[in-house]
């Protein structure tokens, strides 16, 4: 018998992984959660049929969403992670001894519980004493704060579905308010490559750009996400991701990483022409 997991990247493009075994299929109040075992990517899980994380390539995403802002401002003390139920972003953050407080808010507690059980490697630091977990809508959580966080990481799902509110002007506006005077907002920025979320992505980019004095986009190569060419947003009130990078300081921390390094840090902000063009287009 052949069992394949297939994700439609577009109505006419498919990405498939041969599945050894399906370990879990569960419906939470918010979304469908499935966990699979495969030869090529190891264990992976999907939300509403879209791959969120595989054991083989999750390090790329989590390296890039955490170490880029941390290297731009090593003084970050208070961090808010919105989404990120798999715990990967929190795991990377806890490696910085200088961080004092990490709040993580995910709308779906079941995702966190599934990851605690099936993805111990990513979720292992969720019980770090600096970490507090909240289970509610990120849009709701963030609007109650003013000048609270040095860094907000938006580790969300795609812009249609439970994550939709995390791509809106009101969300970014409330994040701006929740950030300290030199705060940084990093977000999972989708991909420019396929039409599906293109307009939503452009709109989100424009909204962040309107709000933050510093706003740039960087990229990473993530094999299991649609097109493999993934973008992240870096927005801040003060720090410039390249000019303010103190490579020596970050390297002195001695953190070992699979993807991130301080050369790549700079390179990741150098975008291909067609991507620049798409980002500059007003949606």
């Amino acid at each position: 018998m052949e069992l394949w997991f297939t994700e439609e990247h577009t109505p006419t493009v498919r990405f498939s992984i041969k599945v050894k075994e399906q370990l879990l299929s569960k419906k939470s109040p918010f979304q469908q959660i499935d966990v699979f075992e495969s030869d090529e990517f190891g264990r992976f899980f999907t939300l509403d049929g879209l791959i969120m994380l595989t054991e083989k390539d999750e390090f790329i995403y989590h390296d890039m969403i955490v170490h880029v802002p941390m290297a731009a401002n090593p003084g970050i003390k208070k961090v808010l992670v919105i989404g990120g139920g798999d715990g990967g972003s929190v795991r990377e953050l806890t490696r910085y001894k200088t961080i004092e407080k990490i709040d993580m808010v995910d709308i779906d507690e079941m995702v966190v519980n599934v990851c605690r059980e099936y993805f111990k490697q990513t979720s292992k630091r969720l019980d770090d004493p600096r970490v507090t977990l909240y289970f509610e809508d990120g849009l709701k959580f963030v609007r109650r704060f003013e000048g609270e966080y040095d860094l907000i990481i938006v580790d969300s799902t795609d812009p249609f579905g439970p994550g939709e509110g995390l791509f809106t002007k009101e969300f970014y506006g409330n994040c701006f308010k929740a950030l300290t005077e030199d705060g940084i907002l990093v977000n999972q920025h989708e991909s420019h490559y396929y039409e599906t979320f293109l307009a939503a992505m452009q709109r989100a980019h424009r909204r962040i750009k309107e709000l933050f004095p510093v706003c740039s986009v960087y990229q990473a190569h993530i094999p299991t996400y649609p097109s493999g060419h993934w973008l992240f947003g870096f927005a801040s009130k003060k720090y410039d991701p390249i000019k303010d990078l103190d490579a020596d300081a970050w390297n002195a921390l001695g953190l070992t990483t699979g993807y991130y390094n301080t050369d790549l840090h700079k390179g990741s902000f150098m975008l291909p022409n067609y991507v620049k063009e798409i980002l500059n287009k007003v949606a």
Binding site: D137, L139, K140, R143, P162, E164, G165, T168, K169, E170, F171, G173, N174, K177
Partner: protein, 483 residues
């Protein structure tokens, strides 16, 4: 036949199964002749966009599935008869008025009535006897009429044929409907109720009284507004007694299409079934969502999402908890400005904004996510645009000075005049902000300085002003003197 049935819906499913070869209208022939339209709306939809035929009954003369659907609707709304209406609640309101009044009659009516009611007066030559609905001193919204004021009007105008009532107003304010109905009936007048915004009163819990529950004669119900049917579909429900339902059907037919849309009618049938079988639960959720939104919005500070605390036993006798009405002036913005900012900057479309308030409709289709977006957007608007609270316009009620009946003014010889030169003239046109579509001026009314100032002010704030022939509203048609 019980409320679990949807006879019209079932008949259309049967029709589809029979694979009938159509040699009748509509000419798109189940969508086959119009590929672009069919692709856009869907084959399933076009396949039941059909004309009346024996198995599907006929709205003008219902003897089959439409009659069954109407019987079920009547039962669901605790009425003796119900009519499916495909011309919007406008058609239902006009049929109510035309069923009890004829040329030369008069009707007692609140001034904050929807223009559809005044249009009926123009069509039939009926004279309005306006009752001041009352204005809230700080919110600036017009209210629901104090029962005592209605009783006084009834006493002063015993010749009136009917009393017309909004239940609720656009903002969710309800009058003492029971007392008004009793007073009208005691004087031999019909009690007609505009429940365009009150469909849910028949199904929810802890909601204001419905027209049928207090024995009103007729009510116009916008199924499409909060009931979940398609836009333009509506219901007229009534009690037998003062008015004969068979006569009402004839009055409805005067202006009703003879090609009633089965999409609209089946949507009423399905919505009625859903409301009758799950309404309590659905509107319980709606009420809870609205209550949550109100408390979160009031916590932001500045915004005032008002509720039952405005009840005063007079012109605010009850309040519809599903309405999310927000007073905006303390944020330093007019309601219409917030309405525009929400749409243009946040992609959030609310129902309307006027000078001091805006209204978000919460209905069966709302989710927690959407509520969070609205609350978050209001938080952000305060951050970006909030300033010192302002007093914009201290009241909205412009007492009308009626010089001619609406019909006389509408058909009188008339001339266009620049708007600013119209003070002292009699308007032959409507002027209103839309939405909500409540006239600032109606045909036959004197253009007062106060009315003109309000129109200019609303225009300056960006309200969409409608009514006059001149769509830019630079000129207004007024009645030629001495004609």
């Amino acid at each position: 036949m019980d409320q679990e049935c949807a006879p019209l819906h079932s008949a259309l499913i049967d029709y589809r199964k029979r694979r009938v070869v159509p040699f009748d209208v509509p000419g798109h022939k189940q969508g086959r002749g119009t590929p672009e339209l069919t692709q856009f709306l869907g084959k399933e939809c076009l396949s039941v966009d059909v004309n009346s035929m024996k198995p599907l009954d006929n709205l003008s003369h219902p003897t089959g599935v439409i009659r069954d659907a109407e019987i079920l609707a009547a039962e669901a709304f605790c009425a003796d008869a119900a009519f499916l209406i495909v011309g919007g609640t406008t058609a239902a309101v006009q049929a109510m008025i035309m069923s009890v009044c004829k040329g030369g009659d008069s009707i007692i009516i609140p001034r904050n009535v929807h223009k559809s009611a005044i249009n009926a007066l123009i069509l039939c030559g009926i004279t309005p006897i306006y009752v001041d609905p009352g204005v809230h001193p700080t919110l600036g919204i017009s209210l629901g009429m104090a029962a005592a004021d209605v009783e006084r009007a009834i006493k002063e105008h015993p010749e009136a044929k009917a009393v017309f009532v909004n239940n609720p107003t656009y903002y969710g304010v309800c009058p003492d409907l029971r007392r008004i109905v009793i007073a009208a009936h005691a004087a031999g007048m019909a009690a007609l109720v505009d429940e365009a915004h009150g469909t849910h009163f028949y199904f929810g819990e802890a909601l204001p009284l419905s027209a049928m529950s207090v024995g009103a004669d007729m009510s116009a119900i916008s199924m499409h507004k909060t009931g979940g049917s398609l836009t333009q579909s509506s219901l007229l429900v009534m009690k037998r007694g003062k008015i004969d339902p068979e006569y009402v059907r004839i009055v409805i037919s005067l202006t009703q299409t003879t090609s009633a849309s089965y999409l609209l009618m089946s949507s009423i049938d399905i919505a009625r079934k859903t409301l009758a079988t799950q309404g309590t639960e659905l509107f319980g959720r709606v009420t809870a969502l609205a209550a949550y939104a109100r408390s979160e919005i009031n916590n932001i500070g500045g915004w005032y999402a008002f509720s039952k605390e405005i009840i005063n036993g007079r012109d605010v006798f009850d309040f519809d908890l599903t309405k999310l009405s927000i007073h905006t002036l303390k944020i330093g913005l007019a309601g219409i400005e917030v309405y525009d900012i929400l749409r243009d900057d946040y992609g959030i479309q609310t129902e309307f904004g006027d000078m001091g308030n805006m209204l978000a409709i919460i209905s069966v289709g709302d989710t927690n996510y959407n509520i969070e977006r609205l609350v978050a957007a209001l938080t952000d608007i305060k951050r970006l645009h909030g300033k010192e609270g302002i007093d914009l316009w201290d009241h909205e009620y412009i007492a009308p000075v009626v010089e001619l009946s609406p019909q006389e003014a509408f058909y009188a010889a008339r001339k266009p005049l620049p708007l600013t030169e119209c003070v002292g003239e009699i308007s032959s046109e409507f002027v209103m902000c839309y939405p909500p579509g409540i006239p600032i001026l109606a045909p036959g009314e004197l253009v007062t300085r106060e009315a003109l100032d309000y129109i200019l002010y609303a225009k300056g704030k960006g309200s969409l002003l409608m009514g006059p022939q001149d769509i830019n509203l630079e000129k207004l048609h007024v009645v030629r003197r001495g004609s």
